[in-house]
């Protein structure tokens, strides 16, 4: 089957059955399954979009990918090297290869560092030569569109967009191969979002980057991604190329998610697939499919047996027993973005 996680040379990052569980704080012994059995691989040079509603485990997944938190199960491998099997030193060296841009640019820069120090920090950690650092800082500032005369400013003197540019410059300082953008534009004004997205597209070419782009914003995801994975309640429910997922989705949750995206033009107002109920209780997930309580097509099989992510033709995977058989309304008139 194609596109199942494998060690193909073009895959830069491979996740196999990655799980991240948290213990209930009250000590009841229940496990909170923030990420549960996620497998996918990211190809070199692509932009891999990860979309889902808040609380579905997107950010936890990004933290696990970057080894900010250990996995509870499964494995994450970067260029074929499994993080669980490498030593501390190697992990430190590997951190150079993958970097993250966080959601809140107001929170992700140390307020006591000047812009220069902030960009220099990763290079100082990895013992770059001093003169090299200076030239690189200038280059990075130019690359992300920050004026070089701002080097001695402090982060609070910047606007949100400028701060996010700084965060990007910082994350590019070590010339990483993979950049994880965790809601990187969500905290910005819409006009600034567009600027930053364009900047990221340019930087991708210039620096030969691979992106994992996490967002709840379908418009943004559609704009930037090559392939898109839809997450719901800690699991990937559907994964397909951008064009496929916006037109030929197979999973009822994808259908509902796309129908929920607002459309700008009033004449394009259309019916929506409204979901009833709420996201399942985190400590007491349903036995079968995580979506069965809210899915209008669910039957007894869905309630008892959890569907696995299966391939449906080239570049399409869905985790639904009845994928392809359901009468899902295609094209909700005026797709987002």
């Amino acid at each position: 089957m194609k596109n199942m996680p494998g060690d193909s040379a073009e895959d830069i990052l491979t996740l196999r059955n990655v799980c991240k569980y948290y213990k209930d704080r009250k000590g009841s012994g229940h496990l909170l399954k923030a990420v549960d059995g996620v497998s996918f691989s990211v190809r070199r040079g692509e932009t891999f979009g990860l979309v889902g509603e808040s609380g579905c485990g997107k950010s936890t997944l990004s933290r696990v990918i970057l080894q900010l938190e250990p996995v509870s199960g499964g494995s994450v491998a970067f260029e074929g090297r499994d993080f669980a099997r490498i030593g501390r030193r190697e992990l430190r060296a590997m951190r150079k290869e993958m970097q993250i841009v966080f959601q809140d640019p107001y929170d992700s820069i140390d307020p006591r560092m000047t812009l220069e120090q902030a960009v220099e920090e990763p290079m100082a950690i990895h013992r770059y030569d001093r003169s090299l650092r200076k030239t690189r800082i200038k280059k990075l500032f130019e690359d992300v569109g920050l004026p070089v005369n701002m080097l001695n400013r402090y982060p609070h003197q910047l606007s949100g967009g400028q701060r996010q540019r700084l965060c990007i410059a910082r994350s590019l300082a070590l010339s990483p191969k993979l950049l994880v953008c965790d809601e990187a534009v969500s905290a910005l004004d819409v006009s600034i979002q567009a600027q930053i997205l364009n900047l990221m597209c340019d930087l991708k070419e210039e620096h030969n980057l691979t992106y994992i782009f996490i967002s709840h914003n379908l418009g943004v995801i559609k704009f930037i991604s090559d392939r898109i994975a839809v997450m719901y309640f800690g699991k990937i429910v559907e994964l397909a190329s951008r064009n496929e997922i916006f037109t030929h989705y197979l999973h009822p949750y994808t259908c509902a998610l796309l129908s929920a995206a607002p459309v700008l033009h009033p004449s394009m107002r259309r019916e929506r697939m409204l979901l009833t109920g709420d996201v399942p209780n985190l400590y007491n997930p349903p036995a079968g499919c995580v979506f069965c309580d809210r899915c209008v097509y669910a039957d007894s099989r869905c309630r008892s047996e959890a569907p696995v992510l299966r391939g449906y033709g080239e570049d399409r995977q869905a985790a639904c027993h009845y994928a392809g058989e359901l009468p899902l309304k295609v094209n909700w008139g005026g797709a987002p973005c």
Binding site: R92, D107, S108, P111
Partner: protein, 273 residues
């Protein structure tokens, strides 16, 4: 330096007060013609006059002289003991707030035990165990301060640790100790400065309390606490003894507080142009 003074008035005033007190302590012999234990029984409890700027105490000793020499002990003890408390408390607080988990629990309970003693009683205990000397004095005043610094640092470190810039540093390969000292510690500084300047006054008072209980600096070396306590019995007949002794304590605490607040502002990047 001058620019700092011009911009941060509080630092300027604080530095001025403290440096005057420090200079008088250093040049005490040049500023008085009396010895600090020079008894003059004919002139007991004399009011301030040209001969005795701050009057005399119940032994006829010159209060001005005793205050000058007392500054040496009081400043040394307060600075050293706060440094001792800060070093112990802030270090463990930082460690616990950063790593959380088991070490936090273990150290936290030890600090709880320390805190369950009244500070003065705890000082007495340490002082009695170590015996009277200036260094032991600093330890016995400083160690009971540690739990306060511990609590403040730990709390601040816990909240700083939640910021994304800590995760960001980690994702760049910054080691635990580097992250702790380069990112967490500087960002807990504002809270630390508040406790720092207020505990300076506490240390001076604790030193005088110990002196009063006879566990202070070995006599006859004067300290401000001793001056105040000796004048206490004659507070209605010779208020200048406690008064001038107390005034020095107040001025010093004021100086430290101004300096502390000013430094906090100075170090806050948000207040920089």
């Amino acid at each position: 330096m001058l620019n700092i003074f011009r911009e941060y008035k509080m630092i300027a005033i604080g530095c001025f007060i403290l440096s005057v007190i420090l200079l008088t302590a250093v040049f005490a012999p040049a500023l008085t013609s009396y010895g600090y234990e020079q008894v003059d029984l004919k002139n007991r409890n004399d009011a301030p006059s040209a001969a005795h700027l701050m009057g005399t105490d119940s032994f006829g000793r010159d209060v001005w002289t005793r205050v000058l020499y007392g500054a040496r002990v009081s400043l040394t003890v307060s600075l050293t003991s706060v440094a001792v408390g800060l070093a112990i408390g802030a270090f463990w607080g930082l460690l616990c707030g950063f790593f959380k988990g088991k070490i936090d629990f273990a150290v936290g309970r030890v600090m709880d035990i320390f805190m369950s003693f009244p500070a003065l009683l705890f000082s007495l205990l340490i002082g009695a165990a170590l015996g009277p000397s200036i260094l032991n004095m600093c330890l016995s005043v400083g160690i009971p301060l540690a739990p306060i610094f511990y609590r403040v640092t730990r709390g601040a470190a816990l909240s700083v640790g939640e910021h994304a810039y800590i995760a960001s540093a980690k994702s760049m390969g910054s080691g635990s100790f580097r992250t702790m000292f380069r990112h967490v510690l500087p960002n807990t500084a504002p809270q630390l400065f508040v406790v720092l300047s207020s505990s300076m006054g506490g240390a001076i008072t604790a030193e005088s309390a110990l002196g009063y209980l006879g566990l202070g600096i070995p006599k006859p070396t004067p300290s401000w606490g001793m001056v105040i306590n000796e004048g206490r019995q004659y507070i209605f007949d010779a208020p200048w003894v406690t008064g001038f002794g107390g005034l020095m304590v107040v001025l010093t605490i004021l100086g430290f507080n101004l300096l502390g607040d000013g430094l906090r502002d100075y170090l806050d990047p948000k207040l920089k142009g």
